[in-house]
């Protein structure tokens, strides 16, 4: 186990990106792409080793490592150090990130036609930033990577998107920076309040969460709300969601997969790490509000999703809507609900990455994403239709597909929940059940409109999936089916973390 180093895992993509940007590196697109794909495969295998050797019984963090330069740790005098570690939740997200980047590279061949070196290096930089977010043990290191992830994303959206992508990218970056101010502010006052009370200057997330009783309630509420604003924008939940459909409909297809599959996980991760772990009392206090928010999220974004005419927007509103389940699961404050929420985050990432892969295949062939121009593609692209049928069923939550188990867990968690507002909880659970019908509405509408209705004249000569797309879709469908049939394989990895969290929450 000692041969696995988190530093290598996090910083290898940056090194590869820098290597790729060197002018001596061959400029030919095939060579660049092959190098990127080979690197991503090796990185994925390396990340998988972390999961294989992960000790699921361990109570806390493992693979701990500190980044030092000539044995000088970073900002030691301020209590800030570049320490990295993994726990059960983050190890799964790390593997997921690595996997999504790999499939993004496989699909990029068709969609990226210019500036190959810049594209692949930016994706790798982004991957590094996401891995850094997931592995950081230190609050400010977390923030560094949190900001670092925005810069490559800006270029990825604006440079390779359609003609309106630039303004969408700007909107996203502006909104994110404003939310980051709240995040940074919350971190600063938490850091100094902790110092003023306990006289230890530290930014370590674990040691901040250890003695939460020392903070007064008003202070906790302030910091909690600031953290909430910062993370909710990235998840995204309703009221903070408007960047997401905008960006998704204007960015190019591989970037869609990247955002849906990796970026949104980090928001949920932040909610768990900061809001739940550091302020359990306040989280309990806010739980009914969050639960109502989750339900509102499901209904509001679902309704918006049905109204859209562009397939990328339908898919992105669908994802926002389903993220409401995550919020409900976290707010249940019991083990079933929490396990369901984490599983749901991972499942949604996989499913929606797959859905955007389908959309990318359709967009590549028809050059349009408007529902009115599509229809009946199932006749000319049968393979694509069958794959997308599995994926759409996966998104709805059909039994033995990936989102079924987490949905079930979240809803049963909501019914079993011990919150004081019993009536509210029951109503929430019932509305949640109804929303499954809702979800099948928009997803199946999407599927029907693309693949089933009348085939238009101009689409009669479309080709079916290429070998790359076949491999990506079969891999994703395999994941969807495997974890649908055997959900415990995921849950057991982070079982100990959820035990720990629920100890903190004292329920």
């Amino acid at each position: 186990m000692n041969f696995l180093s988190l530093i290598t895992l996090i910083f290898a993509p940056i090194a590869a990106a820098i290597l790729m940007l060197v002018p001596k590196f061959p400029n030919h697109q095939v060579k660049v792409r092959r190098f990127a794909k080979a690197f991503a495969s090796v990185h994925f295998i390396y990340a998988l080793l972390f999961l294989v050797f992960f000790d699921t019984g361990l109570y806390g963090m493992s693979y701990e490592k500190e980044l030092t330069f000539f044995n000088i740790s970073w900002l030691k005098s301020m209590g800030i150090s570049a320490k990295f570690a993994l726990d059960g939740i983050s190890v799964l997200m790390v593997v997921l990130t690595s996997f999504i980047v790999l499939i993004t590279f496989v699909l990029s061949k068709m969609h990226v036609r210019r500036k190959h070196k810049l594209y692949y290096s930016m994706v790798l930089l982004f991957e590094s930033a996401i891995l850094g977010i997931l592995c950081s043990k230190d609050m400010f290191m977390f923030f560094v990577f949190w900001e670092l992830s925005l810069i490559p994303l800006y270029f990825l959206i604006s440079q390779w998107g359609n003609s309106e992508a630039r303004s969408a990218a700007m909107k996203f970056t502006l909104a994110s920076f404003c939310a980051n101010v709240f995040l940074f502010f919350a971190m600063l006052i938490l850091y100094y309040y902790n110092f003023a009370v306990s006289n230890v200057l530290t930014a370590n997330i674990e040691s901040l969460s250890m003695d939460e009783n020392i903070y007064p309630v008003w202070f906790q509420v302030t910091v909690f709300v600031n953290f909430l604003i910062g993370f909710v924008l990235r998840v995204p939940f309703v009221f903070f969601h408007s960047w997401f459909p905008d960006v998704q409909s204007k960015a190019s297809a591989p970037v869609n997969i990247l955002i849906s599959g990796t970026l949104l996980c980090t928001g949920v991760y932040g909610l768990i790490r900061f809001n739940m772990q550091i302020f359990p009392e306040i989280f309990k206090m806010f739980a009914p509000v969050l639960m109502c928010w989750g339900v509102f999220n499901i209904i509001y974004a679902g309704a918006l999703s049905i109204l859209q005419t562009e397939i990328k927007k339908i898919a992105s509103y669908a994802q926002i809507s389903m993220m409401g389940f995550v919020m409900i699961g976290l707010a249940c404050l019991n083990q079933v609900g929490f396990n369901g929420a984490v599983f749901m985050t991972l499942a949604l990432a996989v499913v929606f990455a797959a859905l955007f892969a389908v959309i990318s295949a359709v967009q590549f062939r028809t050059k349009t994403t408007y529902l009115t121009a599509l229809g009946g593609l199932g006749q000319v692209m049968p393979k694509c239709m069958y794959f997308s049928l599995i994926i759409c069923f996966g998104a709805i939550g059909v039994p033995f597909l990936i989102t079924f188990a987490p949905k079930l867990m979240i809803l049963s968690g909501a019914i079993l929940s011990n919150l004081e507002e019993q009536l509210l909880v029951k109503i929430v659970a019932i509305i949640g059940l109804l929303s499954i019908i809702f979800a099948s509405g928009y997803i199946m509408y999407l599927f029907y409109k693309i693949f089933c209705s009348v085939l238009l004249e101009q689409w009669k000569r479309l080709k079916d999936l290429s070998i790359q797309e076949m491999s990506v879709m079969s891999a994703l469908c395999l994941v969807i089916i495997y974890f649908g049939v055997y959900p415990m394989s995921v849950i057991q990895v982070y079982q100990s973390v959820s035990n720990l969290l629920l100890d903190i929450l004292q329920v």
């Binding site: 301020m78 900001e147 502010f185």
Partner: protein, 482 residues
């Protein structure tokens, strides 16, 4: 005589070396102007490096805090030495950057450098002045040198703009003198040490605060802080590039050195000052960043950038603790590298293309990737984003403010939002360079000195971020001495 030698060796060595070189430069300007104009640059570089070396030989006595020279007129301690090193390093880089400028004005090269060295000398005297008379003389001298430097520019507006600067600067200096007269009337003393002794025994809040606010005027004017920020964009626009670079760096060091020393005298007697400083800092950040985001010229944008950065430092200085002082020192250091790097990049672009709007940078990434990456690094350092020194320095300064108490938190969050606006002003420039359009701009690769400074500064910003711990410890130990 022996006494004078001792004083010079103990406290005034770098300044004396600069004076010798100023005299040589002036003498040389009489004889070989147009020939040998290149010599002036190397000659000045030699002078500055000798002075820089001499700074390291100044005796620093940790027990016996301050060393007085010339009967208390000049003070030397580790704090002033730190500032002197910053100023000399900065002026070293600026001299290298002035290369193209003197080529255009070969007949006045020696003259230019003698005025330049005078400005450096006055800024150093300003920091280490031990009484109010010396302080006033050096402030006035520094303002005059700036005015002369602004006049060197070729642009037709330059004369008018520099005259505007001169008049406003003169008014600010007179206000300073007015404040000093009140203080003198109050205490009957002009030495800082005597004034502080007097204040320990007697306290008259109203007169004291009145005089101190007046005394701050010229420094706030030079930093471009909010009530005095009307001149900066026009003056920068009219000035030549190396002079604009000078105006955005040396006055910042000099003024912060003086303000922190003055603040030490008064802060205990006028507690409301903290709030005033923090308020001015906040308003400067907001107003100047809102102005900066609307600019189309790079120089004008950077003028407001200087104002915003001084606002941030003033915000930190306002809370006045050891942490905030060391935060300001660290911030100044990071600001120096980032700022000089940005100006080096702009000068490099200007020499090659003779243009300086943000639009002109469009699509540069495809021609000069290294240049663009280095330029982006220093811009990101100014903006204060993650992998550069700017982030660490902002983190340290803001955390010092957060530490000072809950009173300052609302100001802090508003200032941070202002910083986000400023990030977008820098971002406009970065975005232009990555824009996918054809460009005919060609960067001349022959200009070694600017290129060297750009790459060195880009490297330094990253290195400072990595080894921030040691440097912060150094700054803390320096700040303890004040």
């Amino acid at each position: 005589m022996n006494n004078v030698w001792n004083d010079i060796l103990n406290a005034y060595l770098p300044e004396s070396i600069l004076i010798i070189f100023i005299i040589f430069n002036l003498a040389a300007s009489l004889f070989f102007n147009t020939y040998l104009y290149k010599l002036s640059k190397w000659f000045t570089l030699l002078g500055i490096s000798l002075a820089l070396g001499a700074t390291f030989f100044l005796p620093i006595d940790p027990d016996n805090m301050e060393i007085f020279a010339f009967s208390g007129e000049i003070v030397s301690n580790i704090y002033t030495v730190f500032y002197k090193i910053l100023i000399l390093m900065c002026s070293f880089c600026l001299t290298l950057l002035s290369g193209y400028f003197i080529r255009e004005k070969r007949d006045r090269a020696f003259e230019y450098f003698s005025v330049f060295l005078c400005a450096v000398l006055f800024s150093m005297c300003m920091i280490s002045s031990g009484d109010l008379a010396c302080l006033f003389l050096s402030v006035e001298g520094f303002g005059l040198c700036c005015y002369l430097l602004l006049n060197f520019s070729k642009s037709p507006d330059a004369k008018q703009l520099s005259f505007g600067y001169f008049v406003q600067g003169a008014v600010a200096a007179l206000l300073f003198l007015f404040g000093v007269s009140y203080l003198y009337g109050l205490c009957g003393q002009i030495g800082f040490a005597q004034v502080s002794e007097y204040l320990l025994q007697n306290n008259s809040f109203v007169l004291l605060s009145f005089s101190f606010v007046l005394m701050l005027c010229p420094f706030f004017f030079k930093l471009g802080l909010v009530p005095f920020s009307s001149w900066i964009s026009d003056t920068f626009e009219g000035a030549g590039y190396p002079i604009a670079a000078f105006m955005s760096s040396i006055p910042v060091f000099a003024c912060f050195g003086v303000i922190s020393r003055l603040l030490l005298l008064f802060i205990n007697y006028i507690p409301v000052l903290k709030l005033v400083f923090v308020c001015i800092g906040m308003f400067t950040i907001i107003c100047s960043s809102l102005c900066a985001i609307r600019q189309t010229g790079v120089k004008r944008m950077l003028a407001y950038s200087m104002s915003v950065q001084s606002g941030i430092m003033l915000l930190g200085l306002g809370v006045f603790s050891v942490f905030s002082l060391s935060g300001v020192l660290f911030y100044l250091m990071c600001y120096m590298f980032a700022n000089i790097g940005v100006w080096a990049a702009i000068i490099l672009f200007y020499i090659s293309t003779k243009r300086g709007d943000i639009e002109d940078y469009n699509g540069l990434i495809f021609h000069r990737p290294y240049y663009v990456i280095a330029f982006t690094t220093v811009l990101i350092a100014l903006a204060g984003l993650a992998p550069t020194s700017g982030f660490v320095s902002k983190l340290y300064l803001f955390s010092a403010v957060a530490r000072a108490g809950f009173l300052f938190l609302p100001f802090l969050i508003i200032s941070m939002l202002g910083c986000v606006i400023m990030i977008f002003a820098y971002w406009k420039l970065i975005r232009a360079m990555f824009r996918r359009v054809e460009t005919d701009a060609v960067i001349n690769t022959q200009i070694v000195s600017s290129k060297f400074i750009l790459y060195a500064c880009a490297l330094a910003t990253v290195l400072i971020c990595i080894f921030a711990d040691k440097i912060i410890q150094l700054c803390q130990s320096v700040a303890y001495y004040l």
